[in-house]
Structures are given as structure tokens and as C-alpha cells.
């Protein structure tokens, strides 16, 4: 196979806490080392141990934009994984399972959700089959899937025998055995797998040795009992190129650090907290050579503060900001709800603060570990009173990196809360980034009208033409920051004339923002601008829809994609023009209300009539988007709901 045609998809399933994460990482590292680009995305439940989770990986010479089913291969070493994924492998693909799980009955798989048990039991009953893992393997075979049963007990015993390690420890190599089998059958030579294992477990030599032994054994087993791959994968185009492997949570933390964040607060919540923990893990850092030289300073540190709740998280971030810190907080929908009152305070008191909002499936506690894009209204309309704030949504890891920096700039420059909208899919999707993808020297750090030496006549809320008052941090001169309506010096007033003046000043500030942030940063039209079909979406659907455009083009459907990046201030004219130029506009969102379409109508007057939705909380696929769009194009259907993924 030529390297340019490489497109591999596979999944690794298993109980949470059972090493799926580690196996997924090893797989991703194998392909990065081999010169390919990867994405991996994790589907998991609100549970610490035992519930089914899986990691889906896609490998291509260029960065894959989406995952989709069916996959080429599945590693399903427990009965629940077999039964969850036996229909997710394509014809001609293969499924690696553990022969000892075959007799397991559906009824005896305690963690499996009851609705799935009921569906599967009915499925097998209809076909006159026992409700067991064995039946699932049989169906997979009937579907043209090669099923590869590994005698896992024996293999593990053999690893123990070879390494002299106790069985209890060796049993942790189960996933490595399954993964090595799969990678080898996909055409990856043993040496790459061994390299990735060494990289992944790094300094832990014993663990490396044990896992390498397990991988070797698996590969021998394949050679002896199954037959190795027909041919090996060529090395990828990016062989030897330095890459980081990062999740969305991590890239935002990296962006904030590069962006000059000095204090972050948070209260634990999925899927946000990994960002803060990663920041905390890197809170002390060396300055880059150019900065160390300019400042004659080698090291600095940032504070990451875990607070008692989200009320405190946002208030401490606000307090830090008025003191002069470059500050942010990070949360998900439920926590953001608690922050609402303080957002309003930050608007009135003109406090620079960034809120990173990692959306997940709601309403309420909803689907705490699943994807959702349901907080667009929530972000835009948060806070009581007239409540303008900057709302920016990132489409992928690289945008998220630069947006994290820009959000800090905008917050300080415009003295306003900035909501950085991201989501669970981005949070738990892991990909490679190269040096040119995240280049710190492409970023500019701006602090706006920060006054280091305010005089005695300093006015915190000075009325200015652009609506932005010079900002002095605390500790220089007596001043007032307040949530009450106020005169220029911050003293409270209910005077009607001053009220109007201050409302007008704050409005002018947003006119300045609307003017200064270019339209190109607010909305992006991808693809052929003359295409007569326009797909509209926002956030992490971006790379998925870009892939879908390619699929559609192969099917003879020419469409472009309008990605909304900033919802406030909204690029009204640009969006209206683009939409009015299309014959067919389709809104694609992972919420039920079509929130972006609703806002578009509000801002531009343009009514979108067609919708593609996904509300299952699972990752959106490029293939299902393409199919749904095709259906709308062909039938004129108003709404297509897609629901792929276990």
C-alpha cells in the first residue's frame, strides 16, 4: 500500500480502569513514530472502574479529521466489548477477542446497561442464537469479519514464565497482547510496537520489558497460528518529525501557559478538570531563551487554585484579575451555571477574565462524560442584565491553542469576560501536533490599556470614546471596582444621566471589539465559496465536516462549510451574505434546539430550514454527516438525526 492511501481505523474496548487508555496511547505513539498522523477519541462512562469504554483511532498521512465506524479492526478482550462492538467491524476487517470470554452470557455481564442487554438478547433470539459472546463472534464471522481468538490465559502465563514476573502483574499486559496482535495484523512491524512501548512506559524499565515480551509473544502467536500480515505498512511521510501527542484539554492548558496565564481556578468537573490538573503539573517552568534573555529571568510559576465550588472559582479568578493577574477559570455546563451571577459582575465591573467552558451532554447532570454542544445559548446569554461578552468557539486542537491565547488577550484588552467554548469531544480527543502547528512566536501577548503608574486623578471607569477605560491593578492607588452602576471613579450612583452614559460606554466598548476583531476570525467559509450548498456549524465539528465535504465531493455533491468562530460580537453581515448566496443551507449541531441556527436568525434574519443533529453524546462521524447531507439534498428532508457509535 502506498503511504498516501493509508487510512486505518480501529478500536480498543474494555472495562474502565482496565488499561484501555494506555493501550490507546501506545497505538497512537506507534503510528506517530512510524511517520503518520493520528486521532484517537475516547468514549467513556461516568464511572471509575468496570464500565465499558473504548478508544477509537484513525491513522492517515495527514491529520485525520474524524473517526467513523465500521472500523478495520477491533480489540475486544472482554465479553462486554465483544457484544458491544461485534457489528462495528467492516467486512474484511478483523476482531481480536479472548477465547475464554466466549461462554459469557449477556445476563451475567453486570456493568452492561440494561437497555443494551435487552436489545442484544432480542437480536440473538430472533436469530435463534444463545445470548452469549460466542454468538456475537459467529455473527461477526457471518458478516465477513475475520475473528481472531487468543487463548489469553495461556499467553499471559507464558509472559509470566518468560519474564519471571508474578501473574497478577503480567495480567496487566492483556491489552498489550491484544493490541500487538492487531497492530501486527494491520501491517506494523514488531520493532515499531516495541519502540512505542518503550516510549510510553519510559523510565519504568520492568514494565517496558514485560510489555515488550507480551508483544513479542503475541506476534509469534500470530505468525504460528493465524499467519502474519500480507504486507507491511510503508513508513509514513512524517517519519522522524517531532510531534507532541495531546488531548484537547492539554492543548488548551498549553495555550494558556504560552498565552501568559498567571492564575487559574477550578472546581473538579468532567470534562474540564484535566485541563487544570495538566496546568498544575506544569506550573513551574523555564522561560524560553528569547524571554529569559529579554527579562534576565530563568523561571516563573503560575498558580492553579482548586476552590470549594464554582462560585468561588470564578470569584477568585475575578479577584485575581482586578489585582492584576492574567486569570482564567475552567468548567463545564453545571459549573458554568453557578458562575452566571459572577459573569454579570465581571461585565459591570469590567473585569478581564477567561472562562473555558468544556461542554458536555445536558440538561442537568445529563451525560456527564459524553459529547454535547448544548451550551451555546448558555454561554452567550449567561449573566443577568444586558450581558455582552466575547464568546469564541474552537474547531480543533490548533484553533484551541491559539484561541486560548487570544481569549486572554481579549479579556485584558477589552476588560470583559471571554467565554472559550470547547467540548468533551475535543477534551478527550488526542492527536499529534507539530512545531509549525503550535508556534509560540506566532502569538502576540496583549494587555490593552494597563496602567502601571496611575496618578491620584485616576478614574477606573473613565468615559472614553472607544469605551475602554485605562485599567490599573490594585495596589497602586485607591480605586473602586464595583458591580453597582457607578460614576467614573467607581462610586455607586443611580443617577439617570450617568446610567445612560455608562451603559453607552459599555456598548461602545463592544462596538470597538466588533470593529477590532476581524471578520476572518469570527466566521470562516471553508471550501468553494461559489458552492450552492452551505453547511453551517461551530466548535469541534469542524474537522469532521471538512472530511464530510470530501466524501460529498466524491459523491458529486459540492458544498462549502461556514464555521462560526465568534458568536459575540457576531459577524452579521458576513454570515448573511454567505447564507444568502447559497441555494441550500444545512445547520449541523450536536444539540436539539439548533442553537446556532436560532442565533443566526436572531442576528441576521436568515432562517435555516434544514438540520443535521446528533444528540446521543457520541462522537460525530464524517460519514454520517455526509449521508445526512446527501439525504437532505436528495429528498429535501427538513431534519436528519444521526446516531452512530456505541
Amino acid at each position: 500500500m502506498a503511504q498516501n492511501n493509508v487510512d486505518i481505523k480501529f478500536l480498543i474496548g474494555g472495562p474502565q480502569g482496565g488499561g484501555i487508555e494506555s493501550a490507546g496511547q501506545i497505538a497512537l505513539k506507534t503510528f506517530i513514530l512510524k511517520g503518520y498522523q493520528v486521532i484517537g477519541t475516547r468514549e467513556y462512562q461516568s464511572n471509575i472502574m468496570g464500565a465499558h469504554s473504548y478508544f477509537t483511532i484513525r491513522v492517515k498521512p495527514e491529520r485525520p479529521g474524524a473517526i467513523n465506524f465500521p472500523v478495520d479492526a477491533a480489540v475486544v478482550l472482554d465479553a462486554e466489548s465483544v457484544l458491544t462492538h461485534f457489528q462495528d467491524v467492516k467486512k474484511g476487517g478483523f476482531m481480536v477477542y479472548d477465547t475464554t470470554t466466549l461462554k459469557t452470557k449477556i445476563a451475567n455481564i453486570a456493568p452492561m446497561p440494561k437497555p443494551l442487554k435487552d436489545r442484544l438478547t432480542a437480536f440473538f433470539q430472533e436469530r435463534g442464537l444463545e445470548p452469549t459472546a460466542e454468538s456475537a463472534v459467529k455473527i461477526a464471522e457471518e458478516n465477513g469479519v475475520k475473528t481472531i481468538g487468543l487463548p489469553m490465559k495461556n499467553l499471559i502465563r507464558e509472559v509470566a514464565h518468560k519474564t519471571g514476573a508474578p501473574l497478577s502483574r503480567v495480567s496487566k499486559t492483556l491489552n498489550t497482547i491484544g493490541l500487538a496482535t492487531t497492530l501486527y495484523l494491520l501491517g506494523v512491524e514488531a520493532s515499531w510496537i516495541e519502540k512505542a512501548i518503550a516510549v510510553h512506559f519510559a523510565a519504568k524499565k520492568k514494565v517496558v520489558d514485560m510489555n515488550v515480551e507480551a508483544a513479542k509473544l503475541a506476534i509469534n502467536y500470530v505468525d504460528e497460528h493465524i499467519g502474519g500480515p500480507c504486507c507491511f505498512l510503508p513508513e509514513g511521510p512524517n517519519l522522524g518529525k517531532e510531534a507532541m501527542l495531546v488531548t484537547g484539554n492539554e492543548i488548551v492548558a498549553i495555550g494558556k501557559t504560552v498565552g501568559g496565564l498567571t492564575l487559574q481556578t477550578y472546581y473538579p468537573i468532567t470534562p474540564a478538570s484535566d485541563e487544570a490538573l495538566f496546568l498544575e503539573g506544569h506550573r513551574n517552568y523555564d522561560l524560553a531563551p528569547w524571554a529569559a534573555e529579554a527579562l534576565e529571568l530563568k523561571k516563573l510559576g503560575s498558580v492553579v487554585l482548586q476552590t470549594e465550588d464554582e462560585l468561588s472559582a470564578i470569584m477568585a479568578a475575578i479577584g485575581a484579575a482586578v489585582a492584576g493577574a492574567r486569570s482564567a477559570t475552567s468548567t463545564s455546563g453545571p459549573g458554568f451555571a453557578l458562575m452566571n451571577e459572577a459573569i454579570s459582575l465581571a461585565i459591570m465591573a469590567e473585569v478581564p477574565v477567561v472562562l473555558t467552558l468544556w461542554q458536555r451532554g445536558g440538561p442537568s447532570t445529563g451525560l456527564p462524560t459524553r459529547e454535547g454542544q448544548q451550551d451555546l445559548f448558555h454561554a452567550l446569554f449567561s449573566g443577568h442584565g444586558d450581558n455582552p461578552k466575547i464568546v469564541v468557539a474552537s474547531g480543533d486542537h490548533i484553533e484551541a491553542f491559539y484561541d486560548a491565547i487570544k481569549a486572554l488577550n481579549w479579556a485584558e484588552k477589552y476588560q470583559t469576560p471571554v467565554v472559550h467554548l470547547v467540548d468533551k469531544y475535543l477534551a478527550s480527543t488526542i492527536t499529534n501536533v507539530y512545531r509549525e502547528d503550535i508556534d509560540p512566536l506566532k502569538a502576540q501577548i496583549e494587555r490593552g490599556k494597563l496602567v502601571e503608574n496611575p496618578g491620584p486623578d485616576y478614574l477606573r471607569y473613565k468615559i472614553t470614546e472607544d469605551g475602554i477605560s485605562p485599567r490599573a491593578p490594585m495596589g497602586k492607588v485607591p480605586l473602586v471596582w464595583t458591580g453597582l452602576e457607578h460614576t467614573e471613579d467607581g462610586m455607586p450612583t443611580e443617577d439617570p444621566v450617568v446610567r445612560e452614559q455608562m451603559m453607552a460606554k459599555r456598548r461602545r466598548k463592544f462596538e470597538t471589539i466588533a470593529r477590532e476583531i476581524p471578520d476572518d476570525e469570527k466566521a470562516v467559509l471553508h471550501g468553494d465559496p461559489d458552492a450552492k450548498i452551505t453547511l453551517v456549524s461551530w466548535g469541534s465539528t469542524k474537522p469532521i465536516i471538512l472530511e464530510a465535504l470530501k466524501i460529498l465531493e466524491r459523491e458529486g455533491i459540492k458544498a462549502n462549510f461556514l464555521q462560526l468562530r465568534i458568536f459575540y460580537p457576531f459577524p452579521t453581515e458576513k454570515v448573511r451574505k454567505i447564507l444568502e448566496n447559497a441555494d441550500l443551507v444545512i445547520d449541523i449541531e450536536q444539540n436539539d434546539l439548533g442553537q446556532a441556527a436560532f442565533l443566526i436568525r436572531g442576528f441576521t434574519g436568515f432562517t435555516i430550514e434544514h438540520f443535521v443533529k446528533k444528540i446521543t453524546g457520541r462522537a460525530l462521524w464524517d460519514t454520517e454527516v455526509a449521508l445526512a447531507v446527501k439525504k437532505i439534498v436528495e429528498t429535501g428532508e427538513r431534519e436528519v438525526v444521526v446516531n452512530g457509535g456505541a
Binding site: 498549553i254 476552590t307 479577584g319 512545531r435 495596589g475 473602586v480 471596582w481 455607586p492
Partner: protein
């Protein structure tokens, strides 16, 4: 030249009712600040919502008027961002012990070096006299349509349980004594509480000036050997039972003064310094964030642990 308490007045019209205890508290605060000679430019006063919330406009300082119940977390953010500032959080009993009680508790766990002043009048004055968290059950102040069904909480015990390392109680009309308490609280390194009992002549017709003054007494006046310092396990063993007894005492007699000082616990700022070596010299509010407009950080250096390299 040393500062006078007059130097801390802002000139704003003070909007409290005649006879309000807040006047005494404000005056005691200003006198304390003057005697400590604190530069208003380096002083931060954060207030919540309610009558006492207005205090920040009446004290020359870096003032911040925030949300109901949220003075403490804002003050926490300010102090962490710039540990060189003197930070005071003020609020009423409703603000600090009702809507904001989670922060009142959590700040003690950090022992961050801020002073919490509670203007305690047992009613929500600005909303016309509803029952506050320190109003005893079955009492019915004049604005209430029926008796208060909630028990009153004990702020001193709550502060002790939460980890405050300085706990005092004063009385609003005793400006000289309250000034001393506030001074000690500000000087203390760690989270300090000054609960200040305060008649509300407009809405609390039960806990009046007369009611308080028939009951209050000062710990060190009653017991010349009164010593609230709990600096060691030995101190703890010998003094805590009497301290607790005095903290609990409420009714016919109400003790005032400093109840508890624990100088042994490290402050949050000290804890931060242990994990962030550059913290003291370069705290979040007083450190560079860029070098000539360029980032300080090369992610390929700082996040090298994420690089996949054979």
C-alpha cells in the same frame, strides 16, 4: 507623618440609618488602619451585599464591591494574586454565614492571610428585616410575619472548626476595643475573624443597644490571665476547653475579645511558596506575562513530556 483615621474617609455620604452599628465598625476600622499606618494604596477592602456592603465606598482603599456572599473568594483571589497587599473582606451575617457560608468555611482551610469582618446584626437590613443566620429560633423581630424557625449558628465555633487561626468578637458601639481587635486581626498572619455584634435600630427591635450592653463583657477584663494563644499541643490541651466554653457562651452573658490565636499553622501564601519557588518574588499579579509582546514560554520545552520521540 503617621496617618490619622480621618485619612481613611472617602468623603462619600454614608447612607446608613441613624444609630446604625455600622458607624462604629467603620470608625473602629479606620482607627485600626491609622494606628497600623497602612497605606490606602496597598489596602484592599472587599465587601458583599447588604448595608455593610457599602463599607468599601467609605474607606479609602482599593475597594471592590462584589456579589452577595462572595467577598471572601474575591479577597482570596486578590491576596493570592498579590500577597503584598493587606486584604479585608467585610459582610453581614447574612452575607458571610448565609449565602456565602461555603466560602466562610473554606477560607479557613487555606489559612490565607486575610481578615474577615462580620457586621452581625442578625437581620437582613437592606431587604427590610428578614431573619439572619445569627437570630435565635422562635425570636420574632418586628418585620417578621411569624417567629424565626431556624436556629442561630455560632460563627466562632464554625470559624474554629474551619481552621481560622485568629478568632475575635467585638461590639460595634465599643469603638476603642473593637479597633484593638481589628488591629490584632490584621496583624495576625493567617485567616482571622472579627465578629462584630451590631444593633440594627431599624429592624432588630430585640437585640438592641440595651440588650447587648446588659450582656456583653470582655474576656480579659473578667479574667486578667485570659490567654487565647494556642501555639503548641500543650497549649491546646490546657486552654481549649475553656476557649470552647467561652465561644459557646451566649445568652445572659456574651463574651467579647480575642478567643483564639494559633500562630503555628502556615499561611496559604507560605504553602504556595513551597510548591512554586518563584511565587513570593513573582506572584500572579506582579510578574511578567510576555517579553516584548512575545510569549515567555516555548511549549516544546515546557511540555516536552508530551513529545513522542523514540
Amino acid at each position: 507623618m503617621a496617618r490619622s483615621w480621618m485619612d481613611y474617609k472617602t468623603g462619600a455620604w454614608v447612607q446608613w440609618c441613624p444609630g446604625c452599628g455600622n458607624y462604629g465598625i467603620l470608625n473602629a476600622l479606620h482607627r485600626a488602619l491609622a494606628e497600623l499606618d497602612i497605606d490606602p494604596s496597598r489596602l484592599v477592602v472587599v465587601t458583599g451585599i447588604g448595608c455593610s456592603g457599602r463599607s468599601c465606598y467609605y474607606t479609602k482603599a482599593n475597594a471592590m464591591h462584589v456579589l452577595h456572599g462572595r467577598a471572601i473568594p474575591a479577597a482570596t483571589g486578590i491576596k493570592i494574586a498579590n500577597p503584598n497587599l493587606t486584604v479585608i473582606a467585610e459582610g453581614g451575617d447574612g452575607d458571610m454565614l448565609g449565602i456565602g457560608v461555603e466560602h466562610f468555611v473554606s477560607v479557613g482551610r487555606r489559612n490565607i492571610d486575610i481578615t474577615v469582618i462580620i457586621h452581625d446584626n442578625s437581620v437582613y437590613g437592606l431587604t427590610k428585616g428578614q431573619a439572619g443566620p445569627t437570630l435565635p429560633s422562635w425570636w420574632r423581630t418586628k418585620a417578621l410575619p411569624g417567629p424565626n424557625l431556624h436556629d442561630n449558628l455560632n460563627p466562632l465555633l464554625l470559624a474554629l472548626a474551619s481552621g481560622y487561626t485568629f478568632i475575635a468578637r467585638g461590639y460595634a458601639y465599643h469603638v476603642a476595643q473593637t479597633k484593638e481587635l481589628i488591629k490584632k486581626a490584621i496583624e495576625h498572619k493567617g485567616t482571622s475573624l472579627v465578629q462584630i455584634l451590631q444593633p440594627c435600630p431599624t429592624y432588630n427591635n430585640l437585640m438592641t443597644k440595651q440588650w447587648y450592653e446588659e450582656r456583653i463583657y470582655y474576656l480579659e477584663e473578667e479574667d486578667p490571665n485570659w490567654d487565647p494563644l494556642v501555639a503548641s499541643p500543650e497549649d491546646f490541651k490546657s486552654k481549649m476547653s475553656i476557649i470552647l466554653e467561652k465561644m459557646i457562651e451566649w445568652g445572659d452573658r456574651i463574651p467579647l475579645g480575642v478567643f483564639y490565636i494559633n500562630p503555628a499553622k502556615d499561611t496559604f501564601e507560605q504553602r504556595l511558596e513551597k510548591v512554586i519557588p518563584t511565587y513570593r518574588e513573582y506572584p500572579p499579579a506582579a510578574r511578567p506575562v510576555a517579553a516584548n509582546g512575545k510569549p515567555l514560554v516555548d511549549p516544546w520545552q515546557v511540555f516536552a513530556d508530551k513529545i513522542v520521540k523514540a
